[in-house]
Amino acid sequence: MEFPILSFVVFTPIVAGLIIFLIPGDRKNEIRVAALAAGSLALLLSIWVYFSYDIEAGGYQFVEQYSWLPQLGISYNVGIDGMNAPLVLLTGIVMFTGVLISWGIDDRPREFFVFLFILATGVFGVFVALDLFMLIFFYEIAVFPMYLLIAIWGWKVTREYAAMKLTLYLFIGSVIALVGALAMYFASGLGTFNMVALEDAGFSTTFQRFWFPFVFFGFAVLGGIFPFHNWSPDGHVAAPTAVSMFHAGVLMKLGAFAALRVGIMLLPEGASFHMPWIILLTLVNVVYGAFIASVQSDFKYVIGFSSVSHMGLVIMGFATLNSTGMLGAGIQMFSHGIMTALFFAVVGIVYDRAHTREINQLGGFRKVMPLVTLAFIIGGLVSMGMPGFSGFIAEFPIFMGLWESHPWIAVVAAVSIVITAAYIIRIIGQVFFGKMPENFVGHITQINSLDKIALIFLTVVLVLVGVYPPIMVPLVNSGVENIMRIIGGA
C-alpha cells in the first residue's frame, strides 16, 4: 500500500492537539514548541503533497478510501487534484505562520493551540474530501472551534457578539447545505456519498435548479458572498491575529471551494441556470466591498472588507463557468489566502505595539519596522493585481474570463482595482510613511525573529508565484479541465 500521505496531512494537527492537551497548562514554552513542531510537520507534508502531484497524469492522486459506513455508502475517501492541491499547501503555510505569530499568546496557550489545530484538521479534511458526507463532517469540525477562538482570545470589545454571529451564520449555511446534500444522496439512488460517482448521477433539471441555491449559498456563506458576508468583517476584526489569518486566509476558501465542489460540480445545470444572477451578487461583493473598505477608519476593518471584495472575485471567477475564469479563481484562492494572512499578521503586529487600529492615530512605522513595511507594501501590490506578484496571475484570468462571458460586468468590476489601490495606498501612506505620533516615539518595540520568519515566508511565496507562474498555473489548469469536463463548457 502507498504511504497514506493525505491522512497524515489531515490528522497531524488534531493528534498534535491531543498531545498538547496532555502537557500541563503552565508549561507554556513546551506547549509552543510542540505547536511549532506540529505546524512545521504539517507544512512539510503539504509541500511534499503539492510538489509530488503529477500534472501529466492528472485526475485524483494519493487517493485513499476506507469504508466508514458501508450500509449507506459513506466512506473516508480522500484525494488531490489540481484544484485543491494549492489549498492544502495554503493551509500548511497559514498553519505554520499562524503558530509563529501566536507565540506571544499568554492566556491558556494550551487550549488556544488545541482549538486551532482541531480547526486545521477540519480544513484539511474538507479540502481533500472526495466523499460528500466526509466533506460536511469536516466542514462542521472547522466551524465550531472558531467560536471559542474568537470569544476567548479575541478583541475584548466585540468578541462575544462577533463570535456568536459568525458561528451562527456559518452553522446555518452548513446545515442548509447538509439538507441539500441529503436530498442529492437520496435522489441519486446510487446509495453512495462518493462525489466522483455523484457527478454522473444525472439529476433531473428541475431537481438541480431547485437545490442548487441551497447547496451553493449554504457553503458560499463562508465564502463571504453578498448579502451573507456580514459576519466576515466583524469576525475578522474580533479574532486574535492567528485566527484572523486562518479565517480570512483559509476558512473563506473552504466556503468557496465547497460551493464549487458540491454546488457547481454536482449540480452543473443548476449552476448554469442560476449563475447569471449570482454573478451580480458577486459584483456587489467586489465593488461594494472595496468601497466599504476604503471608508473604514479602523485598520483591521479595511483588511476585513478587502477580504469580502477579493473573495467576491473568487466566486465571480467560478460564476463565469468558463475555464479562464475558473483558473483565475483557483489561483486567487491561494494568492488571497497568503496575502490576507500577511495583512492580518501586519495588523496584529502594529496593534500589539500601538494598542490602537485607528488609521489616523498611526504613523511612521517605516522607521521602526522596515521589514513589516516592506511586507505590507508587497501584500498591497498583490491585492492591486500588480504584474510580478501572485495577484496578477490570479486576477487577470478572472477578468479575462469575465470579459468572455459578461463584458459589462468586467468593466464595472474593474473599478474595484482602482478603489483597492486607493485604500491600500492610503494605509501605506498614513500608517507606515506618515509622521509618527509623539506618544509612540521610543515606545515601539522591535518585532522578534519568529514574526520576521513568518512575514518573510509569506512575502516570498507571493513573489515566487508572481515571477514564476509555472509553479502553480499548470497545476490549477489541470484541475480546471476536470471541472470543465463535468460542467460541459469550453
Binding site: L69, R108, E111, E140, F144, E160, M164, L178, F186
Partner: protein, 480 residues
C-alpha cells in the same frame, strides 16, 4: 407451563437485576452508614457485570415471543435493556459522592428497581406487563426524585412528578382497557390482528391511540406533556435528573415505538401526523424556552424536551431508516446527556449552585472538567466529530428519505437555536472570570471513571459509527 433454559436466558438481565437488588439490600443491612457509599461501586460494577452476562444471551436475528407472549426476546429489547442498565450504572457512580445521596439508605435499591421496570418496558409485548413495568419504574422514580425530602425543591419535584405521572398513567390505562375491550386481547400482536380483521371502527382505534399517547408522551417528556420536566429536573438530585432524562426517556421511547409500530400499524398515517406535530412542537418549544434559562439544569431539561423531538423525527418517517436512526439517536443522546448531567452534578456538588453564573471561569478552575462539558454540550448541539452530529444527520436523512424535507428543515433550524444556548454556556465556562478561579475542584474517582467512559463513548459514537448503525438497523428490523 414448561420453562426451559432459553426462556430463562431471555430474561437473564431482569433476573440478575433482582439478584443485584437483593445483594444491595443485604449490604445496606450489614454495612454501617459510613460505608453506604461503597454500595455505589457494587451497583455500578454489578450493572457492568449484567451487561457482560447478557452477551451469551444475545437474541437471534428476528424475534420470538416467549413466556406466553408476554415478552419479546429481540434485538430492539436487547439494545434498550443495555441502554437502561448502562445508564443506571453510570448514574450510580455519579450519585455516590453527590452530597448525602449515596449515604441515604434505599437510593441504590430504588435505582435498581426503577431499572428493572425499564428493562421490562423494553421487552414487554403485553399490555398488562407493560403497565406493571411502567408503574414499577415510575414509582421508584417518584421516590428517587424526592429523596432529599428535607429540601422543599426536591420534595416538590417528587410530588409534581408523581401527580402528573399518576394522572397520565390513569389516562393511558383507560386507553389500554379500551384496546382490550374492543379487541379481546392484551397481547399487542393479538390486538393488531383483531384490528386488521376490520371489526373495530377506526374512530375507536384513534380514540384509544390518543389516550395511550398521553401516557407515552409524558414518559418521553414531549410537548404538550412536558411541563413537569423542568421543575422535576431542577428539584431532583442531579444524578437522578440525569437518570430521568436518559434511561427513563429511552424506556419511554421503546414502548412508544413498539406500540405505535405494532398495534397501530394500519393507521400509521394518523399517528404519523400526530407524532410529527409532537416532534415539531417539542423541538421548537424546548429550544426556544431553553434560550431563556438561567439555571443549567432547567436549560438541560428544556434541551432534553427538544431532543425528544429530534428523536421522534425518526419515528415519523415510518421506515426502517427512520426507526434505526431513532434508536441510534437515543443511544447517542443517552451517553451524551448522562455526561452533561454528570458534569453538572460533579460541579454543582462543589460550588453548591446550578446557576449559569456559577459556571464562570470553570475552564481555569478545572480544564479537564470544562473540556468534558465542551464535548458533551457540543455533542448535544450536533457537532462532529462527536456522536450528536451523527445522530442528527441520520434522523434528518430519514426525514428527507421519507419525502419530508420540511421536517428536516424544521429540525436543522432548531439545531441552530440549540447551538446558540450551548455555546452560551461554553462562553461562561471558557471566557468569563470568577473570583473562585484558583480554588481547587476535587473530582472524586467514581465521577472520573464515569466521565472518562462517557466522553470516550461520545467520540467513538461520532467517529466509528458503522457498528452502532448496524446494531440499530438489526434492532429496527426486529420490532415487527
Amino acid at each position: 407451563m414448561y420453562i426451559d433454559y432459553s426462556m430463562l436466558l431471555a430474561i437473564l438481565p431482569q433476573i440478575s437485576l433482582m439478584v443485584l437488588g437483593g445483594i444491595v439490600l443485604i449490604l445496606e443491612l450489614v454495612l454501617s452508614r459510613d460505608q453506604y457509599r461503597n454500595i455505589g461501586w457494587v451497583t455500578a460494577i454489578g450493572m457492568g457485570f449484567i451487561l457482560l452476562l447478557t452477551i451469551p444471551a444475545l437474541p437471534e436475528e428476528g424475534s420470538e415471543a416467549i413466556w406466553g407472549g408476554m415478552i419479546r426476546n429481540d434485538w430492539i429489547s436487547y439494545i434498550f435493556i443495555v441502554m437502561v442498565v448502562f445508564g443506571a450504572g453510570i448514574s450510580a457512580l455519579f450519585a455516590m459522592d453527590f452530597r448525602s445521596l449515596g449515604k441515604r439508605g434505599g437510593f441504590f435499591v430504588l435505582l435498581i428497581s426503577a431499572t428493572l421496570g425499564m428493562t421490562f418496558m423494553a421487552s414487554a409485548a403485553d399490555l398488562v406487563l407493560l403497565f406493571v413495568a411502567i408503574e414499577t419504574s415510575a414509582l421508584s422514580l417518584y421516590v428517587l426524585a424526592s429523596l432529599f425530602n428535607d429540601e422543599d425543591e426536591s420534595a416538590e419535584a417528587g410530588f409534581k412528578y408523581f401527580l402528573f405521572g399518576a394522572m397520565t398513567s390513569t389516562i393511558m390505562l383507560y386507553g389500554f382497557s379500551l384496546l382490550y375491550g374492543f379487541s379481546g386481547s392484551t397481547n399487542i400482536f393479538g390486538i393488531a390482528e383483531s384490528f386488521r380483521a376490520g371489526d373495530v371502527p377506526v374512530g375507536v382505534i384513534i380514540g384509544s391511540l390518543l389516550l395511550v399517547l398521553v401516557g407515552f408522551t409524558f414518559k418521553i417528556s414531549g410537548v404538550p406533556f412536558h411541563f413537569w420536566a423542568p421543575d422535576v429536573y431542577q428539584g431532583a438530585p442531579t444524578p437522578v435528573a440525569g437518570f430521568l432524562s436518559t434511561a427513563s426517556k429511552a424506556a419511554g421511547f421503546i414502548v412508544l415505538a413498539r406500540v405505535m409500530a405494532v398495534v397501530f400499524q394500519d393507521i400509521s398515517l394518523y399517528w404519523g401526523a400526530i407524532i410529527a406535530a409532537i416532534a415539531v412542537a417539542s423541538m421548537t418549544l424546548g429550544n426556544l424556552l431553553a434560550l431563556a434559562q438561567k439555571n443549567i439544569k432547567r436549560m438541560l431539561a428544556y434541551s432534553s424536551i427538544a431532543h425528544a423531538g429530534y428523536a421522534l423525527i425518526g419515528l415519523v418517517a415510518i421506515s426502517m431508516m427512520g426507526l434505526s436512526s431513532m434508536i441510534l439517536y437515543l443511544v447517542i443522546y443517552l451517553v451524551t446527556n448522562l455526561a452533561a448531567f454528570g458534569i453538572v452534578s460533579a460541579y454543582g456538588r462543589i460550588v453548591g449552585s446550578d446557576d449559569m453564573s456559577a459556571y464562570y471561569g470553570m475552564s481555569r478552575r478545572s480544564p479537564w472538567l470544562a473540556f468534558a462539558l465542551l464535548i458533551a454540550l457540543l455533542s448535544l448541539a450536533g457537532m462532529p466529530p462527536l456522536g450528536g452530529f451523527i445522530a442528527k444527520v441520520f434522523v434528518f436523512a430519514a426525514a428527507v428519505d421519507a419525502n419530508m424535507v420540511w421536517l428536516a428543515v424544521i429540525g436543522v433550524l432548531n439545531a441552530i437555536i440549540g447551538l446558540y444556548y450551548y455555546l452560551t454556556v461554553l462562553k461562561y465556562v471558557y471566557l468569563y472570570r470568577s473570583e473562585d478561579e484558583d480554588k481547587p475542584l476535587p473530582v472524586t474517582r467514581p465521577i472520573k471513571v464515569a466521565l472518562a467512559v462517557l466522553t470516550v463513548g461520545i467520540i467513538l459514537l461520532g467517529t466509528l459509527f458503522a457498528p452502532w448503525f448496524d446494531f440499530a438497523t438489526t434492532a429496527a428490523a426486529s420490532i415487527f
